[in-house]
Amino acid sequence: MNNTIEPTPSPTTRVAIRLRAVEKTFGKGESAVRALRGVDLEVPIGELTMLVGPSGCGKTTLISILAGLLSRDRGELSVFGQDLGALRRDQLSAWRRENVGFIFQQFNLVPQLTVAENVSVPLVLKGESVSAAVKKAGELLATLGLEGRSKSAPLKLSGGQQQRVAIARALIHEPRLLVCDEPTSALDAELGRRVMTLIRDRSHQRDRAVVVVTHDDRIFHLADTIAHMDDGLIIRSERPTRTTVAGHGPLH
Protein backbone atom coordinates (compact mmCIF):
# COMPACT_ATOMS: atom_id res chain seq x y z
CA MET A 1 0.00 0.00 0.00
CA ASN A 2 1.13 3.49 -0.73
CA ASN A 3 1.55 5.50 2.44
CA THR A 4 1.90 8.84 0.77
CA ILE A 5 -0.96 11.22 1.04
CA GLU A 6 -2.32 13.27 -1.78
CA PRO A 7 -1.30 16.90 -1.39
CA THR A 8 -3.72 18.71 0.81
CA PRO A 9 -5.91 20.88 -1.33
CA SER A 10 -5.32 24.58 -0.93
CA PRO A 11 -8.01 25.95 1.32
CA THR A 12 -10.63 27.82 -0.57
CA THR A 13 -11.78 29.44 2.61
CA ARG A 14 -9.99 30.91 5.57
CA VAL A 15 -10.94 27.90 7.70
CA ALA A 16 -8.18 25.56 8.90
CA ILE A 17 -10.33 23.11 10.83
CA ARG A 18 -14.02 22.46 10.30
CA LEU A 19 -16.04 20.13 12.52
CA ARG A 20 -19.72 19.42 11.92
CA ALA A 21 -21.80 17.42 14.39
CA VAL A 22 -18.80 15.42 15.54
CA GLU A 23 -19.64 12.74 18.07
CA LYS A 24 -17.46 10.43 20.09
CA THR A 25 -18.50 7.80 22.61
CA PHE A 26 -16.20 5.70 24.77
CA GLY A 27 -17.34 2.29 25.96
CA LYS A 28 -20.54 0.45 25.26
CA GLY A 29 -23.86 -0.18 26.92
CA GLU A 30 -24.57 1.32 30.29
CA SER A 31 -20.95 2.26 30.87
CA ALA A 32 -20.77 4.25 27.63
CA VAL A 33 -19.56 7.82 27.98
CA ARG A 34 -20.54 10.34 25.31
CA ALA A 35 -17.47 12.55 25.26
CA LEU A 36 -18.57 14.64 22.27
CA ARG A 37 -22.27 15.05 21.49
CA GLY A 38 -22.30 16.87 18.18
CA VAL A 39 -19.52 19.42 18.16
CA ASP A 40 -19.54 22.20 15.57
CA LEU A 41 -16.37 24.24 15.36
CA GLU A 42 -14.42 26.29 12.85
CA VAL A 43 -10.82 27.28 13.47
CA PRO A 44 -9.78 30.07 11.13
CA ILE A 45 -6.40 30.05 9.43
CA GLY A 46 -3.91 32.40 11.03
CA GLU A 47 -5.65 32.44 14.38
CA LEU A 48 -5.19 31.07 17.85
CA THR A 49 -8.27 29.29 19.18
CA MET A 50 -8.55 28.35 22.82
CA LEU A 51 -10.76 25.54 24.07
CA VAL A 52 -11.93 26.21 27.59
CA GLY A 53 -14.32 24.47 29.92
CA PRO A 54 -14.54 22.34 33.03
CA SER A 55 -12.66 19.08 33.42
CA GLY A 56 -14.34 16.20 31.62
CA CYS A 57 -16.21 18.43 29.17
CA GLY A 58 -14.48 16.83 26.16
CA LYS A 59 -11.61 19.23 25.39
CA THR A 60 -8.93 16.54 25.29
CA THR A 61 -11.11 14.28 23.15
CA LEU A 62 -11.76 17.14 20.76
CA ILE A 63 -8.09 18.06 20.25
CA SER A 64 -7.20 14.39 19.93
CA ILE A 65 -9.73 14.07 17.10
CA LEU A 66 -8.77 17.21 15.26
CA ALA A 67 -5.07 16.29 15.54
CA GLY A 68 -5.72 12.89 13.99
CA LEU A 69 -4.95 10.92 17.13
CA LEU A 70 -8.47 9.66 17.67
CA SER A 71 -11.21 8.75 15.24
CA ARG A 72 -14.68 10.23 15.49
CA ASP A 73 -17.84 8.12 15.56
CA ARG A 74 -20.00 10.49 13.55
CA GLY A 75 -19.86 13.89 11.93
CA GLU A 76 -17.60 15.67 9.50
CA LEU A 77 -14.02 16.76 10.08
CA SER A 78 -11.62 18.41 7.72
CA VAL A 79 -8.24 19.84 8.61
CA PHE A 80 -6.72 22.10 5.99
CA GLY A 81 -9.11 20.51 3.53
CA GLN A 82 -8.18 16.93 4.40
CA ASP A 83 -10.93 14.57 5.55
CA LEU A 84 -9.07 12.70 8.27
CA GLY A 85 -11.66 9.93 8.31
CA ALA A 86 -10.58 8.97 4.79
CA LEU A 87 -7.05 8.17 5.87
CA ARG A 88 -5.80 4.77 6.97
CA ARG A 89 -3.88 4.53 10.24
CA ASP A 90 -0.47 4.63 8.55
CA GLN A 91 -1.60 7.53 6.39
CA LEU A 92 -2.78 9.34 9.50
CA SER A 93 0.67 8.86 11.05
CA ALA A 94 2.25 10.32 7.92
CA TRP A 95 -0.26 13.18 7.94
CA ARG A 96 0.56 14.02 11.56
CA ARG A 97 4.29 13.88 10.81
CA GLU A 98 3.84 16.51 8.13
CA ASN A 99 1.11 18.73 9.50
CA VAL A 100 0.83 18.68 13.27
CA GLY A 101 3.02 19.95 16.08
CA PHE A 102 2.25 18.99 19.65
CA ILE A 103 2.92 20.72 22.93
CA PHE A 104 2.04 18.40 25.79
CA GLN A 105 1.13 19.41 29.30
CA GLN A 106 3.86 17.16 30.73
CA PHE A 107 6.35 18.22 27.99
CA ASN A 108 7.20 14.53 27.36
CA LEU A 109 10.85 15.31 26.71
CA VAL A 110 12.90 12.11 26.63
CA PRO A 111 15.36 12.39 29.53
CA GLN A 112 17.98 10.15 27.92
CA LEU A 113 18.25 12.42 24.86
CA THR A 114 19.83 15.85 24.77
CA VAL A 115 17.72 18.95 24.35
CA ALA A 116 18.63 19.23 20.67
CA GLU A 117 17.94 15.56 20.05
CA ASN A 118 14.52 15.93 21.63
CA VAL A 119 13.78 18.88 19.38
CA SER A 120 15.05 17.02 16.33
CA VAL A 121 12.63 14.09 16.69
CA PRO A 122 9.92 15.37 14.27
CA LEU A 123 12.57 15.98 11.58
CA VAL A 124 14.14 12.58 12.13
CA LEU A 125 10.67 11.02 11.87
CA LYS A 126 10.30 12.78 8.53
CA GLY A 127 13.48 11.11 7.34
CA GLU A 128 16.06 13.81 7.90
CA SER A 129 19.48 12.64 9.10
CA VAL A 130 20.11 12.94 12.82
CA SER A 131 23.09 15.27 12.38
CA ALA A 132 21.20 17.68 10.10
CA ALA A 133 18.13 17.57 12.34
CA VAL A 134 20.16 18.25 15.48
CA LYS A 135 21.89 21.16 13.74
CA LYS A 136 18.57 22.70 12.83
CA ALA A 137 17.32 22.07 16.35
CA GLY A 138 20.29 23.97 17.75
CA GLU A 139 19.52 26.94 15.53
CA LEU A 140 15.87 26.98 16.53
CA LEU A 141 16.74 26.65 20.21
CA ALA A 142 18.97 29.71 19.88
CA THR A 143 16.03 31.76 18.59
CA LEU A 144 14.09 30.68 21.67
CA GLY A 145 16.81 31.87 24.02
CA LEU A 146 18.27 28.43 24.66
CA GLU A 147 21.59 28.84 22.93
CA GLY A 148 24.28 26.76 24.60
CA ARG A 149 21.70 24.34 25.95
CA SER A 150 21.58 22.00 22.97
CA LYS A 151 23.62 19.31 24.61
CA SER A 152 22.04 19.62 28.04
CA ALA A 153 19.81 16.95 29.50
CA PRO A 154 16.19 18.15 29.56
CA LEU A 155 15.81 17.43 33.25
CA LYS A 156 18.60 19.88 34.04
CA LEU A 157 16.54 22.73 32.65
CA SER A 158 13.97 24.81 34.51
CA GLY A 159 10.27 24.26 33.84
CA GLY A 160 10.15 27.30 31.57
CA GLN A 161 13.18 26.17 29.62
CA GLN A 162 11.71 22.71 29.23
CA GLN A 163 8.52 24.22 27.91
CA ARG A 164 10.49 26.23 25.36
CA VAL A 165 12.23 23.01 24.29
CA ALA A 166 8.81 21.42 23.88
CA ILE A 167 7.71 24.39 21.78
CA ALA A 168 10.83 24.09 19.64
CA ARG A 169 10.06 20.42 19.11
CA ALA A 170 6.52 21.30 18.08
CA LEU A 171 7.67 23.97 15.63
CA ILE A 172 10.85 22.56 14.09
CA HIS A 173 9.13 20.78 11.20
CA GLU A 174 6.97 23.85 10.52
CA PRO A 175 3.60 22.18 10.97
CA ARG A 176 0.45 23.89 9.76
CA LEU A 177 -1.47 22.95 12.88
CA LEU A 178 -0.13 23.41 16.39
CA VAL A 179 -2.01 21.63 19.16
CA CYS A 180 -1.22 22.66 22.71
CA ASP A 181 -2.49 20.99 25.86
CA GLU A 182 -2.31 23.26 28.91
CA PRO A 183 0.96 24.81 27.76
CA THR A 184 1.22 27.20 30.69
CA SER A 185 0.00 25.02 33.55
CA ALA A 186 3.50 24.40 34.87
CA LEU A 187 4.73 27.96 34.40
CA ASP A 188 4.55 31.12 36.45
CA ALA A 189 2.65 34.09 35.11
CA GLU A 190 5.54 35.83 33.37
CA LEU A 191 6.88 32.66 31.75
CA GLY A 192 3.38 31.62 30.78
CA ARG A 193 2.83 34.95 29.07
CA ARG A 194 6.13 34.70 27.18
CA VAL A 195 5.43 31.14 26.08
CA MET A 196 1.95 32.03 24.89
CA THR A 197 3.26 35.05 23.03
CA LEU A 198 5.61 32.73 21.16
CA ILE A 199 2.73 30.40 20.32
CA ARG A 200 0.43 33.25 19.30
CA ASP A 201 3.07 34.74 17.02
CA ARG A 202 3.25 31.37 15.38
CA SER A 203 -0.51 31.21 14.83
CA HIS A 204 -0.54 34.53 13.04
CA GLN A 205 1.73 33.27 10.30
CA ARG A 206 0.19 32.56 6.94
CA ASP A 207 -1.44 29.15 6.45
CA ARG A 208 -1.10 28.19 10.10
CA ALA A 209 -3.51 27.56 12.95
CA VAL A 210 -3.14 26.96 16.66
CA VAL A 211 -5.53 25.23 19.03
CA VAL A 212 -4.86 25.54 22.74
CA VAL A 213 -6.62 23.71 25.54
CA THR A 214 -6.28 25.68 28.74
CA HIS A 215 -7.75 26.48 32.12
CA ASP A 216 -5.37 29.40 32.57
CA ASP A 217 -7.49 32.57 32.48
CA ARG A 218 -4.32 34.69 32.56
CA ILE A 219 -3.73 33.91 28.91
CA PHE A 220 -7.28 34.24 27.60
CA HIS A 221 -6.54 37.70 26.24
CA LEU A 222 -4.02 36.18 23.80
CA ALA A 223 -6.71 34.13 22.02
CA ASP A 224 -8.32 35.20 18.77
CA THR A 225 -11.28 32.94 19.50
CA ILE A 226 -12.36 31.25 22.70
CA ALA A 227 -14.58 28.19 22.32
CA HIS A 228 -16.42 27.29 25.50
CA MET A 229 -17.14 23.60 26.00
CA ASP A 230 -19.45 21.86 28.41
CA ASP A 231 -20.75 18.30 28.51
CA GLY A 232 -19.39 17.35 25.10
CA LEU A 233 -20.63 20.43 23.26
CA ILE A 234 -19.29 23.82 22.21
CA ILE A 235 -21.78 26.01 23.99
CA ARG A 236 -20.38 29.33 22.88
CA SER A 237 -17.63 30.68 20.68
CA GLU A 238 -16.54 34.28 21.04
CA ARG A 239 -13.87 36.83 20.40
CA PRO A 240 -12.38 37.80 23.75
CA THR A 241 -13.03 41.34 24.90
CA ARG A 242 -11.56 43.28 27.75
CA THR A 243 -14.73 42.57 29.73
CA THR A 244 -14.82 38.81 29.25
CA VAL A 245 -11.14 38.47 29.99
CA ALA A 246 -11.10 40.73 33.02
CA GLY A 247 -14.24 39.34 34.56
CA HIS A 248 -13.35 35.65 34.05
CA GLY A 249 -16.92 34.85 34.82
CA PRO A 250 -18.24 34.10 31.33
CA LEU A 251 -15.30 31.84 30.71
CA HIS A 252 -16.08 29.25 33.40
Partner: protein
Protein backbone atom coordinates in the same frame (compact mmCIF):
# COMPACT_ATOMS: atom_id res chain seq x y z
CA UNK B 1 15.02 6.96 15.46
CA UNK B 2 17.01 3.79 16.01
CA UNK B 3 19.97 5.82 17.19
CA UNK B 4 17.70 7.49 19.71
CA UNK B 5 16.37 4.08 20.76
CA UNK B 6 19.90 3.03 21.67
CA UNK B 7 20.46 6.28 23.57
CA UNK B 8 17.25 5.70 25.47
CA UNK B 9 18.46 2.21 26.39
CA UNK B 10 21.93 3.31 27.50
CA UNK B 11 20.63 6.47 29.14
CA UNK B 12 18.54 4.65 31.72
CA UNK B 13 21.64 3.22 33.34
CA UNK B 14 19.97 1.53 36.31
CA UNK B 15 17.62 -0.49 34.16
CA UNK B 16 20.18 -1.00 31.41
CA UNK B 17 22.67 -2.56 33.81
CA UNK B 18 19.85 -4.58 35.36
CA UNK B 19 18.88 -5.96 31.95
CA UNK B 20 22.53 -6.56 31.11
CA UNK B 21 23.18 -8.40 34.37
CA UNK B 22 20.03 -10.47 33.94
CA UNK B 23 20.96 -11.53 30.43
CA UNK B 24 24.63 -11.89 31.36
CA UNK B 25 23.76 -14.05 34.34
CA UNK B 26 21.42 -16.18 32.24
CA UNK B 27 24.00 -16.74 29.51
CA UNK B 28 26.70 -17.31 32.14
CA UNK B 29 24.64 -19.95 33.89
CA UNK B 30 23.59 -21.64 30.66
CA UNK B 31 27.05 -21.68 29.08
CA UNK B 32 28.92 -22.49 32.28
CA UNK B 33 26.67 -25.34 33.31
CA UNK B 34 26.62 -26.69 29.77
CA UNK B 35 30.43 -26.51 29.59
CA UNK B 36 30.85 -28.28 32.91
CA UNK B 37 28.35 -30.89 31.79
CA UNK B 38 30.22 -31.46 28.54
CA UNK B 39 33.53 -31.48 30.41
CA UNK B 40 32.22 -33.99 32.91
CA UNK B 41 30.70 -36.21 30.25
CA UNK B 42 33.89 -36.02 28.17
CA UNK B 43 35.77 -37.52 31.09
CA UNK B 44 33.64 -40.63 30.93
CA UNK B 45 35.30 -41.60 27.66
CA UNK B 46 38.52 -39.57 27.88
CA UNK B 47 40.57 -42.73 28.41
CA UNK B 48 39.37 -44.15 25.09
CA UNK B 49 40.36 -41.00 23.24
CA UNK B 50 43.68 -40.88 25.07
CA UNK B 51 44.87 -44.15 23.56
CA UNK B 52 46.20 -43.14 20.19
CA UNK B 53 47.27 -44.93 17.01
CA UNK B 54 44.74 -47.74 17.17
CA UNK B 55 41.75 -48.52 14.98
CA UNK B 56 39.58 -50.72 17.16
CA UNK B 57 38.79 -51.65 20.75
CA UNK B 58 37.69 -55.21 21.44
CA UNK B 59 35.85 -55.83 24.70
CA UNK B 60 33.19 -57.89 26.43
CA UNK B 61 29.88 -57.57 24.57
CA UNK B 62 28.00 -56.88 27.81
CA UNK B 63 30.27 -54.04 28.83
CA UNK B 64 28.32 -50.76 28.89
CA UNK B 65 31.14 -48.29 29.48
CA UNK B 66 34.91 -48.27 29.42
CA UNK B 67 35.34 -48.33 33.21
CA UNK B 68 32.96 -51.23 33.71
CA UNK B 69 35.10 -54.15 34.96
CA UNK B 70 34.17 -57.00 32.63
CA UNK B 71 37.55 -58.45 31.76
CA UNK B 72 38.30 -60.95 29.02
CA UNK B 73 40.12 -64.25 29.17
CA UNK B 74 43.76 -64.21 28.04
CA UNK B 75 42.76 -66.31 25.04
CA UNK B 76 40.76 -63.40 23.64
CA UNK B 77 44.00 -61.79 22.51
CA UNK B 78 44.98 -64.72 20.32
CA UNK B 79 41.47 -65.02 18.91
CA UNK B 80 41.55 -61.41 17.86
CA UNK B 81 45.03 -61.74 16.42
CA UNK B 82 43.71 -64.60 14.33
CA UNK B 83 41.15 -62.50 12.55
CA UNK B 84 42.10 -61.64 8.99
CA UNK B 85 42.91 -57.96 8.56
CA UNK B 86 44.37 -57.42 12.05
CA UNK B 87 47.86 -55.92 11.75
CA UNK B 88 48.53 -56.21 15.43
CA UNK B 89 46.58 -56.62 18.65
CA UNK B 90 47.70 -55.70 22.16
CA UNK B 91 46.21 -56.33 25.57
CA UNK B 92 45.38 -53.56 27.98
CA UNK B 93 44.56 -53.68 31.67
CA UNK B 94 42.54 -51.00 33.44
CA UNK B 95 41.58 -51.22 37.06
CA UNK B 96 41.45 -49.45 40.39
CA UNK B 97 44.13 -50.49 42.87
CA UNK B 98 45.16 -49.11 46.23
CA UNK B 99 48.61 -47.55 46.59
CA UNK B 100 50.17 -47.31 50.05
CA UNK B 101 52.45 -44.34 50.54
CA UNK B 102 55.53 -44.38 52.84
CA UNK B 103 53.71 -42.52 55.61
CA UNK B 104 50.96 -45.11 55.61
CA UNK B 105 48.36 -43.13 53.75
CA UNK B 106 46.41 -45.08 51.14
CA UNK B 107 45.39 -43.74 47.76
CA UNK B 108 43.18 -45.31 45.12
CA UNK B 109 44.94 -45.29 41.73
CA UNK B 110 43.75 -45.96 38.22
CA UNK B 111 46.29 -48.51 37.02
CA UNK B 112 46.78 -48.99 33.28
CA UNK B 113 48.76 -51.95 32.04
CA UNK B 114 49.99 -51.59 28.46
CA UNK B 115 51.45 -54.17 26.11
CA UNK B 116 54.94 -55.23 27.23
CA UNK B 117 56.26 -55.60 23.72
CA UNK B 118 54.79 -52.71 21.79
CA UNK B 119 53.93 -50.41 24.69
CA UNK B 120 50.75 -49.60 22.73
CA UNK B 121 48.18 -47.71 24.77
CA UNK B 122 50.74 -45.58 26.58
CA UNK B 123 50.22 -42.05 27.86
CA UNK B 124 49.90 -39.13 25.47
CA UNK B 125 52.65 -36.96 27.02
CA UNK B 126 55.70 -38.04 28.95
CA UNK B 127 56.92 -35.27 31.23
CA UNK B 128 59.91 -37.05 32.66
CA UNK B 129 61.51 -40.41 31.88
CA UNK B 130 61.01 -42.65 28.89
CA UNK B 131 58.21 -45.05 28.06
CA UNK B 132 60.71 -47.86 27.57
CA UNK B 133 61.73 -47.40 31.22
CA UNK B 134 58.52 -49.27 32.02
CA UNK B 135 60.37 -52.42 31.07
CA UNK B 136 62.62 -52.01 34.15
CA UNK B 137 61.75 -54.11 37.22
CA UNK B 138 58.80 -52.78 39.28
CA UNK B 139 58.62 -49.73 37.02
CA UNK B 140 55.58 -47.48 36.96
CA UNK B 141 54.91 -44.02 35.55
CA UNK B 142 52.49 -41.74 37.39
CA UNK B 143 50.22 -38.94 36.23
CA UNK B 144 51.91 -35.71 37.20
CA UNK B 145 48.90 -33.41 37.84
CA UNK B 146 46.83 -35.71 39.96
CA UNK B 147 49.76 -37.30 41.78
CA UNK B 148 50.99 -33.89 42.87
CA UNK B 149 47.73 -33.50 44.71
CA UNK B 150 47.00 -37.06 45.80
CA UNK B 151 50.28 -38.93 45.84
CA UNK B 152 52.42 -36.75 48.06
CA UNK B 153 55.48 -38.02 49.88
CA UNK B 154 56.87 -36.90 53.25
CA UNK B 155 59.33 -34.09 52.60
CA UNK B 156 61.81 -35.57 55.05
CA UNK B 157 61.94 -38.84 53.10
CA UNK B 158 64.72 -39.02 50.55
CA UNK B 159 63.84 -40.04 47.01
CA UNK B 160 63.86 -43.83 46.72
CA UNK B 161 64.01 -44.32 50.48
CA UNK B 162 61.50 -46.25 52.52
CA UNK B 163 60.85 -45.90 56.24
CA UNK B 164 62.95 -48.18 58.42
CA UNK B 165 61.14 -51.19 59.87
CA UNK B 166 59.03 -49.98 62.76
CA UNK B 167 59.47 -46.32 61.79
CA UNK B 168 56.19 -44.43 61.67
CA UNK B 169 56.07 -41.18 59.70
CA UNK B 170 53.68 -38.54 60.87
CA UNK B 171 51.12 -37.98 58.06
CA UNK B 172 50.77 -34.34 59.11
CA UNK B 173 54.39 -33.50 58.29
CA UNK B 174 55.17 -31.35 55.21
CA UNK B 175 54.85 -33.10 51.86
CA UNK B 176 56.59 -33.05 48.51
CA UNK B 177 55.39 -34.14 45.07
CA UNK B 178 56.24 -37.60 43.83
CA UNK B 179 59.57 -37.83 41.99
CA UNK B 180 61.33 -40.33 39.80
CA UNK B 181 62.88 -42.94 42.02
CA UNK B 182 60.16 -42.86 44.70
CA UNK B 183 58.86 -46.20 45.94
CA UNK B 184 55.19 -46.99 46.57
CA UNK B 185 53.28 -50.14 47.26
CA UNK B 186 50.58 -51.08 44.77
CA UNK B 187 48.24 -53.62 46.28
CA UNK B 188 51.14 -54.70 48.50
CA UNK B 189 53.57 -54.99 45.59
CA UNK B 190 56.65 -52.81 45.27
CA UNK B 191 56.47 -50.23 42.53
CA UNK B 192 59.19 -47.76 41.57
CA UNK B 193 58.40 -44.49 39.83
CA UNK B 194 60.44 -44.22 36.61
CA UNK B 195 58.57 -41.44 34.88
CA UNK B 196 55.95 -38.74 35.10
CA UNK B 197 53.25 -38.48 32.46
CA UNK B 198 50.34 -36.31 31.46
CA UNK B 199 47.05 -37.88 30.49
CA UNK B 200 43.45 -36.87 30.20
CA UNK B 201 41.44 -36.58 33.39
CA UNK B 202 38.96 -39.42 33.55
CA UNK B 203 35.97 -40.34 35.62
CA UNK B 204 38.07 -42.68 37.72
CA UNK B 205 39.27 -41.16 40.99
CA UNK B 206 42.91 -40.70 41.96
CA UNK B 207 46.09 -40.52 39.93
CA UNK B 208 46.63 -42.69 36.88
CA UNK B 209 49.57 -45.10 37.09
CA UNK B 210 51.01 -46.73 33.96
CA UNK B 211 52.92 -49.96 33.90
CA UNK B 212 53.29 -52.87 31.56
CA UNK B 213 50.51 -55.38 31.20
CA UNK B 214 52.34 -58.33 32.67
CA UNK B 215 53.15 -56.37 35.82
CA UNK B 216 49.71 -54.79 36.10
CA UNK B 217 48.07 -58.18 36.34
CA UNK B 218 50.42 -59.15 39.15
CA UNK B 219 49.37 -56.04 41.04
CA UNK B 220 45.69 -56.81 40.50
CA UNK B 221 43.83 -59.41 42.55
CA UNK B 222 44.20 -62.75 40.82
CA UNK B 223 41.45 -63.82 38.46
CA UNK B 224 41.01 -65.98 35.37
CA UNK B 225 39.92 -62.89 33.49
CA UNK B 226 42.37 -60.01 33.67
CA UNK B 227 42.42 -58.36 30.26
CA UNK B 228 40.21 -55.29 30.15
CA UNK B 229 40.27 -54.96 26.37
CA UNK B 230 42.27 -55.67 23.26
CA UNK B 231 43.64 -52.81 21.16
CA UNK B 232 43.66 -53.51 17.44
CA UNK B 233 45.34 -51.90 14.50
CA UNK B 234 43.91 -52.78 11.09
CA UNK B 235 46.24 -53.95 8.35
CA UNK B 236 46.93 -51.49 5.60
CA UNK B 237 43.98 -51.17 3.22
CA UNK B 238 41.54 -52.84 5.62
CA UNK B 239 38.42 -50.89 6.49
CA UNK B 240 38.28 -50.68 10.33
CA UNK B 241 34.51 -50.91 10.47
CA UNK B 242 34.49 -53.99 8.28
CA UNK B 243 37.24 -55.45 10.45
CA UNK B 244 35.19 -54.70 13.57
CA UNK B 245 32.29 -56.65 12.10
CA UNK B 246 34.59 -59.54 11.27
CA UNK B 247 35.96 -59.57 14.83
CA UNK B 248 32.42 -59.58 16.19
CA UNK B 249 31.45 -62.43 13.92
CA UNK B 250 34.52 -64.57 14.52
CA UNK B 251 35.19 -63.99 18.24
CA UNK B 252 31.80 -63.17 19.70
CA UNK B 253 33.42 -60.12 21.31
CA UNK B 254 32.34 -56.55 20.77
CA UNK B 255 34.54 -54.42 18.56
CA UNK B 256 34.22 -50.73 17.92
CA UNK B 257 36.27 -47.85 16.67
CA UNK B 258 37.31 -45.33 19.39
CA UNK B 259 34.51 -42.90 18.50
CA UNK B 260 31.75 -45.50 18.73
CA UNK B 261 33.21 -46.91 21.95
CA UNK B 262 33.29 -43.38 23.40
CA UNK B 263 29.67 -42.81 22.41
CA UNK B 264 28.67 -46.16 23.92
CA UNK B 265 30.28 -45.07 27.18
CA UNK B 266 28.72 -41.62 27.00
CA UNK B 267 25.32 -43.09 26.20
CA UNK B 268 25.47 -45.24 29.33
CA UNK B 269 26.18 -42.26 31.59
CA UNK B 270 23.53 -40.19 29.86
CA UNK B 271 20.90 -42.90 30.16
CA UNK B 272 21.67 -44.45 33.48
CA UNK B 273 22.59 -41.51 35.66
CA UNK B 274 20.79 -38.33 36.72
CA UNK B 275 23.67 -36.14 35.54
CA UNK B 276 21.96 -34.84 32.37
CA UNK B 277 18.75 -34.12 34.29
CA UNK B 278 20.58 -32.27 37.06
CA UNK B 279 22.55 -30.15 34.62
CA UNK B 280 19.45 -29.72 32.50
CA UNK B 281 17.64 -28.33 35.51
CA UNK B 282 20.50 -25.91 36.20
CA UNK B 283 20.52 -24.78 32.56
CA UNK B 284 16.73 -24.39 32.57
CA UNK B 285 17.01 -22.39 35.77
CA UNK B 286 19.47 -20.08 34.06
CA UNK B 287 17.04 -19.62 31.23
CA UNK B 288 14.08 -18.90 33.50
CA UNK B 289 16.14 -16.59 35.70
CA UNK B 290 17.02 -14.71 32.53
CA UNK B 291 13.39 -14.55 31.50
CA UNK B 292 12.34 -13.43 34.95
CA UNK B 293 15.03 -10.82 35.59
CA UNK B 294 15.86 -9.50 32.13
CA UNK B 295 12.32 -9.89 30.81
CA UNK B 296 10.84 -8.07 33.76
CA UNK B 297 13.50 -5.35 33.68
CA UNK B 298 13.07 -4.81 29.96
CA UNK B 299 9.31 -4.69 30.31
CA UNK B 300 9.64 -2.12 33.09
CA UNK B 301 12.06 -0.16 30.94
CA UNK B 302 9.49 -0.08 28.15
CA UNK B 303 6.72 0.86 30.58
CA UNK B 304 8.82 3.75 31.87
CA UNK B 305 9.30 4.95 28.32
CA UNK B 306 5.73 4.37 27.24
CA UNK B 307 4.83 8.04 27.50
CA UNK B 308 7.72 8.91 25.19
CA UNK B 309 6.73 6.21 22.73
CA UNK B 310 3.22 7.67 22.95
CA UNK B 311 4.61 11.12 22.17
CA UNK B 312 6.56 9.72 19.21
CA UNK B 313 3.41 7.99 18.00
CA UNK B 314 1.46 11.23 18.29
CA UNK B 315 4.19 13.02 16.35
CA UNK B 316 3.75 10.53 13.53
CA UNK B 317 6.06 7.63 14.29
CA UNK B 318 4.67 4.53 12.64
CA UNK B 319 4.06 1.35 14.60
CA UNK B 320 6.80 -0.27 12.55
CA UNK B 321 9.28 2.39 13.67
CA UNK B 322 8.31 2.00 17.32
CA UNK B 323 8.44 -1.79 17.17
CA UNK B 324 11.81 -1.53 15.47
CA UNK B 325 13.05 0.68 18.29
CA UNK B 326 11.92 -1.81 20.94
CA UNK B 327 13.34 -4.75 19.00
CA UNK B 328 16.67 -2.98 18.55
CA UNK B 329 16.84 -2.17 22.25
CA UNK B 330 16.19 -5.82 23.08
CA UNK B 331 18.74 -7.00 20.52
CA UNK B 332 21.48 -4.67 21.72
CA UNK B 333 20.83 -5.60 25.34
CA UNK B 334 20.85 -9.26 24.32
CA UNK B 335 24.14 -9.08 22.43
CA UNK B 336 25.86 -7.17 25.23
CA UNK B 337 24.41 -9.43 27.91
CA UNK B 338 25.46 -12.49 25.97
CA UNK B 339 28.96 -11.08 25.52
CA UNK B 340 29.18 -10.33 29.23
CA UNK B 341 28.03 -13.83 30.15
CA UNK B 342 30.22 -15.65 27.64
CA UNK B 343 33.18 -13.48 28.61
CA UNK B 344 32.71 -14.47 32.23
CA UNK B 345 32.37 -18.14 31.26
CA UNK B 346 35.53 -17.96 29.16
CA UNK B 347 37.42 -16.40 32.05
CA UNK B 348 36.05 -19.14 34.29
CA UNK B 349 37.12 -21.75 31.75
CA UNK B 350 40.63 -20.33 31.43
CA UNK B 351 40.95 -20.30 35.18
CA UNK B 352 39.71 -23.87 35.39
CA UNK B 353 41.95 -25.14 32.59
CA UNK B 354 44.29 -27.87 33.77
CA UNK B 355 42.60 -28.06 37.13
CA UNK B 356 40.29 -30.64 38.62
CA UNK B 357 37.14 -28.92 37.41
CA UNK B 358 35.67 -30.47 34.31
CA UNK B 359 35.07 -27.71 31.75
CA UNK B 360 34.79 -27.99 28.01
CA UNK B 361 33.14 -25.23 25.98
CA UNK B 362 32.31 -26.66 22.59
CA UNK B 363 31.56 -24.18 19.80
CA UNK B 364 27.91 -25.18 19.99
CA UNK B 365 27.58 -23.96 23.59
CA UNK B 366 27.89 -20.21 22.83
CA UNK B 367 25.36 -20.77 20.04
CA UNK B 368 22.97 -22.45 22.47
CA UNK B 369 23.45 -19.62 24.96
CA UNK B 370 22.89 -17.09 22.15
CA UNK B 371 19.71 -18.92 21.16
CA UNK B 372 18.48 -18.89 24.75
CA UNK B 373 19.25 -15.18 25.13
CA UNK B 374 17.53 -14.52 21.82
CA UNK B 375 14.42 -16.31 23.08
CA UNK B 376 14.57 -14.30 26.33
CA UNK B 377 14.89 -11.07 24.32
CA UNK B 378 12.06 -12.04 21.99
CA UNK B 379 9.87 -12.87 24.96
CA UNK B 380 10.74 -9.61 26.71
CA UNK B 381 10.39 -7.47 23.60
CA UNK B 382 7.17 -9.10 22.37
CA UNK B 383 5.47 -8.34 25.68
CA UNK B 384 6.82 -4.80 25.51
CA UNK B 385 5.91 -4.45 21.83
CA UNK B 386 2.37 -5.51 22.60
CA UNK B 387 2.17 -2.69 25.11
CA UNK B 388 3.56 -0.21 22.58
CA UNK B 389 1.25 -1.47 19.81
CA UNK B 390 -1.80 -1.03 22.03
CA UNK B 391 -0.64 2.42 23.02
CA UNK B 392 -3.23 5.04 22.15
CA UNK B 393 -1.43 8.17 20.99
CA UNK B 394 -4.27 10.23 22.43
CA UNK B 395 -3.14 9.05 25.88
CA UNK B 396 -0.29 11.55 25.74
CA UNK B 397 -2.86 14.25 26.45
CA UNK B 398 -3.99 12.49 29.61
CA UNK B 399 -0.93 13.59 31.53
CA UNK B 400 0.10 10.04 32.41
Amino acid sequence: MYRYAIKMLFGDSAKFYGILLGLGFASLLIAQQASIFVGLMSRTFAFVGGVGHIDLWVFDPTQSFVDEPKPLRATALDRVRGVTGVAWAAPIYKGLLVATLPDGRRQVCNVIGIDDDTLAGGPAVIVAGSLSDLRQPDAVMVQVESSQQNMLFPAELAVGAMPAPGQVLDPSLPKRPVQIGDIVELNEHRARVVGLVKCAETFSPGPTVYTVYSRAITYAPPSRRMMSAVLVSAAEGVNPDALAQRIRDETGLESMNPWDYSMRTLGYWMRETGIPINFGIAIALGFFVGVAIAGQMFYNFTLDNLRYFGAFKAMGASSRTLLGMVALQALVAGVLGLGLGLGAVSAFGLNAAGGKLAFKMLWQIPLIAAGAVLIICIFASVVSMWKVLRLDPADVFKGA
